[in-house]
Point group: C2
Chain length 223, copies 2
């Protein structure tokens, strides 16, 4: 089966306090984004990468590709105003029936094992959404106040959210709604159910200086 990874690195968020978007910050001398890309390229030798970048950082993205990877495997798309639009722009570059991974560029600690698990589920069921249980107790806010909920029923959602192209491409033709916070919600709005697969505790979004420290430690431990 053909394979595409749409790596969404379109954010220009600067929560770190600096001016560089998080996906470009260096961890052990390489950008966060490098590790995300490498994980997919290691997982499948025949995968094609669609890298969605902020309009102002397309050159910087291209430099990462040139420095570390085989540029034949890459295409670049421009980010949109919403995650939905960014992913949609990326999906326009998918050219054939395939399994499509959509992954946050700042989740640079995922393993090949997770990528393979998502692939297997998407081949079998059409979809794969990696999730983990919450370590904390959970409450849901409602009109009357808030209620405790069994924490074994609460799933924290990660990426790569993985789909057969026959599902994902038509799903992204529907109109944007504000509740589309990820690909799973789009596919559900299109009328389909999604399959949950086991995610990874360490598959965190790098958004704070503490997260960077974690990334550094885990990447060092692997080497």
């Amino acid at each position: 089966m053909n394979k595409y990874a749409v790596i969404v690195a379109a954010g220009s968020g600067i929560r770190m306090g600096g001016t560089l978007p998080k996906q470009f910050i260096l961890v052990n001398n390489k950008p966060v984004l490098f590790y995300s890309l490498q994980a997919f390229l290691n997982a499948f030798s025949d995968i094609q990468i669609i890298l969605v970048l902020p309009v102002d950082y397309m050159d910087m993205g291209q430099e990462i590709i040139d420095a570390y990877f085989d540029k034949e495997k890459f295409r670049i798309a421009a980010g949109g105003e919403t995650r939905f639009q960014s992913v949609k722009n990326g999906l326009e570059l998918v050219e054939e029936e395939s399994i499509i991974f959509v992954h946050d560029g700042v989740r640079c600690l995922l393993t090949e094992k997770l990528i393979h698990r998502c692939y297997a589920s998407a081949v079998e069921t059409g979809t794969a959404i990696p999730v983990i249980l919450s370590k904390d107790s959970v409450r849901i806010v409602n009109d009357e106040g808030n209620d405790a909920i069994d924490r074994n029923k609460v799933m924290l959602v990660q990426t790569p959210q993985t789909f057969h192209s026959k599902i994902l491409l038509p799903a992204y033709q529907i109109d944007y709604k504000e509740k589309f916070t990820d690909e799973a919600t789009v596919v559900e709005a299109y009328g389909l159910k999604v399959t949950l697969v086991e995610g990874e505790q360490n598959n965190i979004k790098i958004t704070t200086p503490i997260d960077l420290l974690i990334a550094e430690k885990l990447i060092n431990d692997r080497n």
Copy 2:
């Protein structure tokens, strides 16, 4: 108002791979538990601490008190088979009308600010449950599969869970139920609502080597 902090350090979990319970592991040469205790003692000069320890580690707990703190402020209780029973054992040492904090001994990164915020809410409303929003999208598993839920309605629950003694002491007289995962669920089963207050992103439970690393970094940054 009198103040008690029931510090629940009764776990003998050894998820770190070692043999020492997590609350006794050293961070910058002092046990995790030291930092939890210090935060409450710094927050209020007139607070009394009830330290709930595993039966096999009562000496080790006493040594921490002797080494670092004024022992007049401490009482020790033995942990039970459940969190409910451990807290109940601790609450038996509360002697007067008071505001009672119940705190996980392994959440050693809380700030005095959070303790003061919980106190103010408990004085005003009788309860204070610190919560933070989930950074990830969230799904709830149900009989038909799973549903996305607005992440702004999902609260991850922390400690110190804080109560007026007139609420907490009678609540702990009800019979144990399996759904009692924290103090808030006990108080609700007793028939009362709880007030949510803003928690802290860094107020994590120290349960893995990565968490220890975070603790070390944050504690160093404060010094």
